[in-house]
């Protein structure tokens, strides 16, 4: 019984120590040093918020770069992968269907040019990034839809490639939302039409 009482007391003590003090230290730190005062970092276009920098969003229009398939359709108050096994026939058929639809939207591509990232779902369903190849294969479609030069778009893409950490570790990536915002900024007439 004495131990039980001690248990209660120490649990409350730990609550104060961790759930209150530790939390307050980090919270205050976030208010001062966090990118958006402890909230998710935002991206703006002409002063208007257009999304969270680290959270992927759905792009379906021809004038934008598309992100990866998402098992949860980019709902960001839930998250999830497909959890399909590598030999699941139903899953493989789904990937096949995605390839076909990608080819319809990009008729100038060969099958072997399609990056696997564009037809496989991400782990979180909210992947904000694509690879360099994923962006390159979409340029022609976007140039046509926007009436822009392919080389201009290529330049914007290249500017948005984020190198591996310290140039040495990990993967190279492009933030789809930031890239699309840059496209809109370079090509203002499109926004007027929207």
């Amino acid at each position: 019984m004495r131990t039980l009482l001690k248990s209660l007391k120490i649990t409350i003590a730990f609550c104060l120590f961790f759930s209150v003090c530790y939390i307050l230290i980090l919270w205050v730190f976030a208010l001062v040093a966090g990118p958006n005062k402890g909230n998710a970092e935002l991206v703006t276009l002409n002063g208007k918020v257009v999304g969270a920098a680290n959270v992927g969003q759905q792009f379906t229009k021809d004038i934008y770069f598309w992100g990866r398939p998402s098992a949860v359709d980019y709902t960001a108050d839930g998250s999830g992968g497909s959890n399909k096994g590598p030999t699941n026939e139903e899953y493989l058929a789904e990937v096949e269907a995605r390839i076909d639809s990608f080819l319809i939207h990009h008729p100038y591509l060969n099958r072997k040019e399609i990056p696997a990232e564009m037809v496989t779902a991400s782990g979180s369903g909210l992947d904000p990034n694509i690879t360099r190849q994923c962006a390159y294969v979409q340029i022609k479609r976007i140039a046509k839809a926007r009436g822009m030069n392919e080389s201009d778009i290529q330049e914007i893409v290249n500017k948005h490639i984020e190198k591996p950490f310290l140039g040495l570790f990990g993967t190279e990536k492009i933030n789809v939302l930031k890239l699309n915002v840059a496209l809109d900024e370079a090509n203002k007439s499109i926004i007027a039409e929207k």
Partner: protein, 568 residues
């Protein structure tokens, strides 16, 4: 040179290099020697005082265990009550509802035993209050429980003949204030700067570029993620854990989080050497563990970076490996590394979906948990290895005709019985659980249908999903082949049961062995003593572990992961 491979290499190097000073520090903390963190002393004394604890009281192993178990039972009640009434408590800006009793039972047990298996999704299944006062609190204190148990064992081994093994409260509090807290703060600061949310504003609804709307869950994420990793807990803030772009926004955070999983378990092994002044023994144990770890990293990195052959068959460009269930900023190589790091320890956090990894990667993930002793959970992983050392000492003693002794204590029938029970319990609960669920799946389809059908993948992979779930529970790991529809009556209760059995029976058994050995007469080393700090003995222990732990699972792997590999 491939930057993904470089990234993996640097992480492993950082782990090995930094585990040395941390191990030294941990030994000092448990010995109560002078160190830089002494400024915590007033806070600790305050905690002892208000709780009426005498930190100098020496406990026998039975009292030590009793205190540990009562405290844990109390935590179970604490969590259960708060989860069921969470909708009535403050800090619930998203208006989430209460957990059902079977779900709360599973959640509570799983966090109490440091497993962090989650049959709910953090965005909707918890409130900010329960995230902080149940989930995060448990992540600190249950990790500290495992560390305290190991500290008790270390103390008992270090004394020549003793009836006491130290003070449980003292070890518990010091683990929290001097090891877990400082490391968590550092990791937390890095995460915040990199963009992990840390606030209480609740969901944010923001317009998207194409003119739609997106609701983004956030909250005190950056406080929970560090201890989730450092305490080998693994219970993610968001449903998809560290593959979520807010929980793990950049490659740097990924490196830091991955490092945080393994650093304390690695340092603990070395701490044992420093504490006992038997560095050579610690190095030989560390060496065996590191070897097994690297084998796993090699296999999984190759499997994942090589990609899915079935996707290759479709004739598209699969240059970055098997990316189903993985994130671009992390990459297939690092997801493979993490999948090993998280399963050799009892962490269970993920940065990509294990269900979608290649069959042989899945096999390695499961084997690590089925062996459950390469580094392992904070404290308890080393204790599992200790069990196998006892068995190895006994077997090799018989083989070469020497009295089985470990660190000057004779290993006799009673200790051997306990060690064997602990070692065999693990395959027993996993295989019985899998057999039961497979039987129901095959012979009672109506029941399975009424529970939502369970499996997300047919065939061999379906069996892997069920096997993985029980393996993860028994190893107190908490990761999952998340395709399994596991938030049901059957899985919540059976998994809860497996969780309790496989956390507390080993801890009780291991502390008991240490306590029993401590009471025995100390026999000084002589020419006739079996040397336990040699490479030969390291290989011997590896062999014992491989035969007892790994081969028990060979038949079931032949039917699940290996069969799937050959059907690729």
């Amino acid at each position: 040179m491939n930057t993904e491979i470089l990234g993996i290499a640097i992480q492993i190097i950082l782990l090995v290099v930094l585990s040395y000073p941390l191990g030294k520090y941990i030994a000092k903390v448990y010995k109560g020697e002078k160190c830089w963190s002494d400024f915590m002393t007033p806070i600790e004394n305050f905690i002892y005082k208000v709780c009426g604890i005498d930190p100098k009281e020496e406990m026998g192993w039975k009292k030590f265990l009793k205190t540990l178990l009562i405290l844990n039972a109390f935590w179970f009640l604490w969590g259960m009550v708060l989860l069921v009434i969470q909708h009535l408590l403050p800090l619930n800006p998203d208006g989430n509802g209460p957990q059902t009793p079977d779900q709360a039972f599973n959640t509570c047990i799983s966090f109490m035993v440091n497993c962090n298996l989650q049959h709910y999704s953090g965005e909707s299944g918890l409130t900010y209050f329960t995230q902080l006062f149940v989930i995060m609190l448990f992540q600190f204190i249950t990790a500290a429980t495992g560390m305290a148990a190991m500290a008790g064992i270390m103390k008992s081994i270090s004394l020549k003949t003793t009836r006491t093994i130290g003070n449980f409260w003292y070890f518990l509090v010091r683990s929290c204030t001097r090891i877990l807290l400082p490391l968590s703060l550092i990791v937390g600061f890095i995460l915040i700067v990199q963009g992990t949310p840390m606030g209480f504003d609740g969901k944010m609804t923001i317009p998207t570029l194409e003119g739609g709307e997106q609701t983004v869950s956030q909250g005190p994420t950056a406080a929970i993620v560090p201890i989730k990793q450092l305490g080998t807990n693994g219970g993610g803030y968001f449903g998809v854990n560290s593959s979520h772009p807010l929980e793990n926004p950049t490659y740097l955070t990924n490196m830091v989080e991955c490092w945080s999983i393994l650093i304390i378990p690695m340092a603990m092994v070395l701490a044992f050497g420093f504490y006992l002044k038997r560095k050579k023994l610690a190095y030989s144990i560390y060496g065996v563990m590191l070897f097994a770890f690297l084998v796993g990293v090699g296999i999984n990195t190759y499997q994942e970076m090589n990609g899915n052959p079935r996707i290759d068959d479709m004739g598209i460009a699969q240059e970055n490996g098997a990316m189903e269930g993985k994130e671009i900023r992390i990459g297939s190589g690092d997801t493979a590394l993490w999948s090993i790091v998280t399963t050799v320890t009892s962490n269970g956090s993920v940065n990509g979906m294990h269900d979608s990894t290649m069959p042989l990667s899945g096999m390695m993930e499961m084997l690590n948990m089925q062996i459950n002793t390469w580094f392992g959970g904070v404290g308890v992983g080393w204790m599992n290895y200790y069990t196998f050392i006892i068995i190895a000492v006994f077997i090799s003693g018989l083989m070469v005709g020497r009295t089985p002794e470990f660190l000057g204590k004779k290993v006799e029938a009673r200790e051997m019985k306990i060690a064997t029970i602990v070692a065999l319990l693990h395959p027993f609960v996993i295989l019985v659980g899998t057999a039961l669920s497979s039987y129901l799946y095959a012979h009672n389809p109506e029941f399975v249908e009424s529970e939502g059908g369970w499996l997300n993948n047919p065939g061999f992979h379906g069996l892997s999903e069920m096997l993985y779930e029980y393996t993860s529970c028994a190893a107190n790991n908490g990761s999952g082949f998340e395709g399994l529809g596991d938030n049901t009556w059957f899985w919540n209760y059976t998994c809860g049961l497996v969780l309790i059995l496989s956390r507390f029976i080993p801890i009780v058994g291991q502390v008991a062995i240490a306590g029993l050995l401590a009471e025995k007469k100390f026999i000084p080393e002589s020419a006739g003593t079996l040397k336990t700090d040699t490479v030969t003995f390291g290989v011997m222990t590896f062999a014992v572990i491989f035969i007892i732990a790994a081969l028990s699972f060979f038949p079931v792997h032949a039917l699940s992961t290996i069969a799937e590999h050959f059907s690729l």
